[in-house]
């Protein structure tokens, strides 16, 4: 019942965050969770979407996508198919919601930050890597905005990271890689603030429904993992 890469059940894969990987973006990070690599870029723009104009508040949104050959078998480009799939939509919305939870929109003023999270290589956990990396890009984007527009208050109101947990062969595990994810009975993505509160909890029974005790065990693992990710983010932004 050893994990495919020999990790302990509560052990993250090696996590690397390369800050400012891109030259043009106001904030960016190449984040790696093991072989999963996601390039996160923050774009700062003046103005907000139409429905938010005149509120004096800013906006943060995200777009997630996978390169065609980030995966083991090539996936058709959504641009070529002419439409975005449900999974892409769902993850983009999750990333956006997660980051908005730590932003003070009033402090931002009417500016928009778009987080582009492009998966260059996928090995499980791309959405949680994306959230964790996008936070770093967002922090730099907001720093840029604050300086450029001379904002009085810091629009960054907290920190956020995310991790997947799941039950594989009856065992609760942290940060599933693709091999584990593919056979997990239960799969959960948890988004947590730096002070250990939940922003998002999404658990799905892929096979058997799970009981309250299993749920509790997974939440424990997730809080532990996000604690470590939070430290890695802090180091990257130091």
């Amino acid at each position: 019942m050893a994990r495919p890469d020999g990790r302990a059940p509560n052990e993250l894969r090696p996590v690397t965050i390369t800050r400012s990987w891109l030259r043009h973006a106001e904030g960016s990070a190449l984040i790696e969770f093991g072989d999963t690599r996601v390039l996160c870029a923050a774009t700062v723009e003046d103005g907000v979407p139409r429905w938010r104009r005149g509120t004096g508040e800013g906006w943060v949104t995200a777009e997630y996508a996978m390169l065609p050959r980030s995966t083991d078998t090539r996936g058709a480009r959504e641009s070529v198919k002419g439409k975005i799939g449900g999974r892409t939509h769902e993850i983009s919305r999750l990333i956006g919601r997660s980051l908005r939870a730590v932003v003070d929109f009033k402090a931002m003023g009417e500016h928009t930050i778009t987080l582009d999270c492009d998966v260059l290589q996928a090995d499980g956990g791309t959405r949680t890597a994306a959230i964790t990396g996008a936070y770093v890009a967002l922090a730099d984007g907001l720093k840029y905005l604050r300086k450029k527009r001379n904002l009085k208050n810091n629009p960054l109101a907290g920190t956020v990271s995310a991790v997947s947990v799941g039950i594989v062969q009856g065992q609760s595990r942290l940060d599933l890689n693709y091999l584990e994810d593919a056979v997990a009975q239960t799969d959960m993505n948890v988004v947590v603030t730096g002070d250990g509160k939940f922003i998002e909890v999404q658990g799905t029974a892929e096979g058997e429904p799970f009981d309250r005790a299993a749920l509790d065990g997974l939440l424990d693992l997730a809080l532990h993992g996000c604690g470590e990710l939070s430290e890695t983010q802090t180091k990257a932004l130091a």
Copy 2:
């Protein structure tokens, strides 16, 4: 801190399930959670999607949509816009996953059931009403299939219902209506089997991140509500 419609915090809205509302569909139900009305139809077809052919197993999928004027202000039709939005995608996928959790695909054989969940009128909780109603349509669809194809084993392996819970003005509440949903700090949709296990837990902090105790309280409420919904389903199918 009374609820807008005077319910107790742990009280469902009046729930009505009109079985076989449609003449053509192999299973159907018009479900009402208060003013929320969702028409659920099960279509039974031979064959399965390409990627599943030759496995001997069946498939269950769902499509959710809202009529343009189901809501307070008219929404543009997705057919006219030429694409399906992220929210629609997300909910369709959720309904499909939730129902698949109680189906024995081997017992089904290579047949497909599509659940169409069309919101005729919306007042909060449309996705949970859709899951709860679609279960009834699915049960009748599977009964039809079993008889028509003379299946040896019952493909329906359990029951499933869903409810929303949330924190409104600091209070945990069951089955939010639209007014409550719009101001909830935390919003959670929970999908539960008839024997009280979780199929899906989706909690989102709309405002403040929520702590472990709040999460636990919401899960308690959800289990309670799904217990009642499960009874209503059983009566409808009697």
Copy 3:
């Protein structure tokens, strides 16, 4: 040569109009022509399409659609296909034209009413049921508008209903159901005002071309049927 449901050749199916079936819409009606059920909703909005701005005149438009399982075999959603089919386009345009014929746009001022006609269950005659039901929703929508915007003149300048007629097995018949429609040699949809004038006449030879005498017989039937429908509308709006 009896009709499948035993009606006389010049007999309508039972027609029911449930006014104000929807809570949010400014006008609505669930109309039934036998097993055909169409939900019609009128949405009143300020402003008019760009090409009509500054004219001081209002606008009325319609969108028709069928739920996937309104029919005997499930039809793919147009939102999923990403485009609207020719039949849908054609019927939406027909409904819009028919209703515009009884509206005084100057009296309306620069407001728009959109009629959504969604077929919940189909058994032939969905477009004529939609026109007949949409008239009721429109009447209520205009009443709402008149009151809300304090309009001096009544923008509703007449009444309109519609019915299908056709030649089946050599016999001219009123209000074809699906079984009859599928085998009709000639199929005609006729839209008539309350005072018996034509707004639209659309006759198509599905099999043999038809002669002048046949055309005349069908028009007689249609005028008769619309007379009855007009009375039913009047009662519903009383």
Copy 4:
């Protein structure tokens, strides 16, 4: 009350049919109704659409389109907009239905003829010119098919032409040009066989609803006009 181009009320515009205008198509015609110019091409292909396979019967279909600058002000290309408009759909379907009415599909065998009707210049009556010209292209296409596949029976079972009629300034007129069409109170397109029977009657009240007598007058005019068009077709095909 003279017509803008001085014609008598029951007078067609000069009609020219240039047969075989295209080199590649199996049948083609450039048809002119005054300044209206439509290029019609028949493409003969083996096989039929999926839903018709195995029936032993052929199929005829049509696609109508306008060049962007066929009209007085440029219209955006539907290929650029990424979707086909309602009017285009409606006219394509009308042309297809009209031609299918004179084809013996059993005699055709499982072959398909597609009629492309592209409006090079528009001055009213493009759909009726398209039907009238497409008939010539179809006749040549079927002749080609009959010879190539050595068909025993002639698949062309009749002739068909079409014309518009309308009421302008209270006067019933034949073959409206654009100036007349734009101000017509009633507009009707009529598709007629060579022996004077109706294939399609589509009358619309653009302004005032019209009574039975007006309808009768328009039908008389249309039968007269189609008689002349039928002769012109015969000469072109001689």
Copy 5:
């Protein structure tokens, strides 16, 4: 090694330009290079695209398309497919760039000319015929604009024509027809001003890569051909 139509290697096909073929367009030309027929229309409109507003300069753009049956086998309509193919995009862009090279945008003022180039019949060289014909339509469009808006300076700053050249069976040839184009080892489209300078050179090795000497020979042929085309344009515009 004779050419399929007996021409000398440096000989153009018969070229015909029918100026003002269309009644509505501000400039138009039906151009024929042998059996290739392209209808070119210039539409003059006030205003420029958003990104160019406020510059005081005009804009020229082009759209190229082929009728479905312009070719030997029917091609599906891009409007029906719902998207524009790569080849169409590429040629539209080429035509636009080529014409913009001879326009003085400051002299034009903020007006836009759109060149629609629709291939009615294709036999090789459609893009070069389109450029050569569109120049004639453009010249008339600019003349119309200059007069209508009383422009001080002539916005037409030069002349432009285009021709294809290629290596077929080892021989360099001018103005390939379809038969030659299909077997050419190298295919080159060259756009040249009236005074013999290059606007665009697009050479592609379809089979063997080509050396510098071959390239030089093709450029000689192209300059020669464009010289003749330039004269034909001048006569058409006289």
Copy 6:
């Protein structure tokens, strides 16, 4: 008249090729021309497109895309817009043609290689970097294919690289970066084989038309640059 980054007119930017940057792809390379970074992945699949089946020959195709924030200002995703732009189409086609010129399709057998070229960061010359990097990915992809399918002959029939040249401030320059590209009077992309022959020559006058002498000078520069790139490729593949 110094170049913005101080290079000599005939000097390439620093070029780096990181072979096998991706874990899943059968061949891959991250190529850098200065700040331009393109990730190239080769996917090897059995089978060929429908139109090529049964020929016994393979196929090579390419898809080019830019990440939204690869550029100075963020560009909207083509997947979100729902269609691929003309520039993307054009470059994808160019890359595919360029690589096909050095492939022996008979030796490949009926297999397809897709080259995905995704621009991670753009600073001019993305299409030429893509071709040069895709060649390396292709070489590895073909090596993989040859081994896996035990192909008798080497399907790689030559080498190919590409570079941009242009005239900036009257001076001919090699490998323009974005600053230079934006102000170039003439811009040319040249694709060259390892033995100095042309596969593609695409020169465009952005401002003034260019004469024969200028064209000759640019071709000299391009041949020189591609010679150096060819050596870099050879080293990367050693």
